[in-house]
């Protein structure tokens, strides 16, 4: 079959992994959809430097395994290639989302208003800390099923990581258009984000474990913790 007549560009365009084509001056000549989102979190220069650092010695393609992470984007490898002196391309390989190993214990799930649990945990936090706290929440998030005790523990530990932080910003919102498959059902996602000027990371392992038990994906960064909670109905 003659494949030359097939235009491959849309495949790259819609690939879930970011792909960028640079000029030899570091100018972006092309980027796919995934790369466009990625540029919200990392500078052009940084990615160009990575492309140069991992380029093969002569014309061709080279794949290097390495760990990169930008906000919630995590990559485990890059392929850098060039066929002439003018262009260099780089493709990032998404680290697969770790599937929670423990099955969801549906017997423990109770329909809950997440705002109530969040507010109660903020009240608990306030009994111990006098830090300034800002909350931006969506009161219309529908009640969903969650292990109340486990999730409360998770919230306690997450908030506790900010016990001596200033200007803590908490936001709770529905991630429009994003879904996760749980028990063969497509469920919407609620994102809880807590951000401050810094935080403790002594309980990160426990936070990961508790989140995993409730099938919540967690992002732990220097200034922020983000929980992506499945809205199980």
């Amino acid at each position: 079959m003659n494949t030359l007549s097939i235009d491959f560009q849309p495949f790259v365009e819609w690939d879930n992994s970011p792909f960028v084509l640079f000029s030899n001056q570091g100018k972006i000549l092309y980027l796919n959809n995934a790369a466009e989102i990625l540029f919200g979190y990392v500078s052009k220069q940084e990615l160009y430097d990575i492309a140069l650092a991992y380029a093969p010695q002569s014309f061709g393609y080279k794949t290097t395994t390495l760990t990169l992470s930008y906000d919630s984007f995590n990559f485990y490898a890059v392929t850098v290639g060039y066929e002439n002196e003018e262009h260099i391309s780089i493709r990032f390989y998404n680290t697969p989302r770790v599937k929670p190993s423990a099955p969801l214990e549906s017997g423990k799930l109770m329909t809950t208003d997440i705002n109530i649990l969040l507010e109660a945990n903020i009240a608990l936090f306030k009994t111990k800390n006098s830090n300034k706290l800002q909350l931006l929440t969506d009161q219309d998030i529908p009640s969903f099923k969650i292990d109340q005790n486990n999730f409360s523990k998770l919230l306690r530990k997450v908030l506790d990581a900010f016990r001596s932080s200033d200007s803590i910003n908490i936001s709770l919102k529905l991630l429009i258009g994003e879904h996760v498959i749980i028990l063969d059902k497509k469920e919407p996602i609620v994102q809880l984000s807590i951000e401050a000027n810094g935080r403790y990371n002594d309980a990160d392992a426990e936070i990961r474990m508790l989140a995993n038990q409730s099938h919540i994906s967690v992002l732990l960064k220097e200034h922020v913790i983000k929980l992506e909670i499945p809205l199980i109905q």
């Binding site: 109660a120 608990l124 005790n149 306690r156």
Partner: protein, 244 residues
């Protein structure tokens, strides 16, 4: 219905937390010194819950089988904390201290720390007033029988020491001559022995007499006149009883 008075912001936040989670199946524990109102707070928040004490392990185990909502007091006294299962239950526990932090951390979603009475000045004043009223009623006292402003405050063991000091103060300050005689009589009946009792127990009368006299009249000279004894005799007795 039980009442709970507090001006403490910290406790008001605890109450807020409990009110929000009242209908949820979460486990909470209130930790704080003895006699600061942990149990009263739990009772006030959950007036109809079954209540068991951690002093009785079997009772706690049986109650966990039977009830979905349960108050467990003296949680630190329970020996089998690790093996308890609070899943899908509403547990409200109180403890004087955290024994093993990891265990408490695993069992409870909400861990509240309740401030002691020493840290809650306004609450302590309120409780003092409450105890005075109670003591007044119990001891059948009239308000004119004592001076309210002179009732001392002792928060060394929180409400326990406070109650004790109030009852003692009110009793002492409302005793008439006959009660004092009876008190001395009871004391002597129990303690009198040896071969020098007269001199020894005279102290019960002489020491307070001289101490009160010195406080009231200031100088030894004046006091000796009031007492109608020689100044030297008074000086000797002051020395004898080691009064400053």
């Amino acid at each position: 219905m039980e009442q709970f008075f507090t001006k403490s912001e910290q406790i008001q936040n605890i109450i807020k937390g409990f009110n929000l989670t009242k209908t949820l199946f979460v486990s909470s524990i209130i930790i704080g010194e003895a006699n600061i109102g942990k149990k009263s707070l739990a009772r006030y928040l959950f007036p109809y819950s079954h209540l068991v004490s951690g002093r009785n392990q079997q009772e706690v185990e049986a109650a966990l089988e039977e009830y979905d909502e349960l108050i467990i007091t003296d949680f630190e006294k329970l020996n089998n904390q690790e093996s308890l299962d609070f899943d899908n239950k509403r547990i409200i526990a109180t403890a004087n201290f955290i024994g093993n932090y990891t265990t408490i951390d695993n069992l409870f979603a909400f861990i509240y720390t309740m401030p002691s009475l020493k840290e809650r000045h306004e609450d302590a004043l309120y409780i003092k007033e409450y105890f005075i009223k109670e003591a007044q009623h119990d001891l059948l006292l009239e308000e004119k029988d004592f001076n309210l402003s002179k009732v001392p405050m002792d928060l060394s063991t929180n409400s326990k020491s406070l109650k004790k000091v109030i009852y003692e103060h009110l009793m002492i300050h409302s005793m008439d001559k006959q009660s004092i005689e009876e008190a001395v009589y009871t004391y002597l009946l129990e303690h009198m022995e040896g071969n020098n009792a007269y001199k020894e127990y005279l102290e019960l009368y002489e020491k307070p007499l001289i101490e009160a006299g010195l406080k009231k009249y200031g100088s030894q000279l004046q006091l000796s006149q009031i007492l109608g004894i020689n100044r030297n005799t008074l000086r000797k007795k002051i020395h004898e009883h080691a009064i400053d």
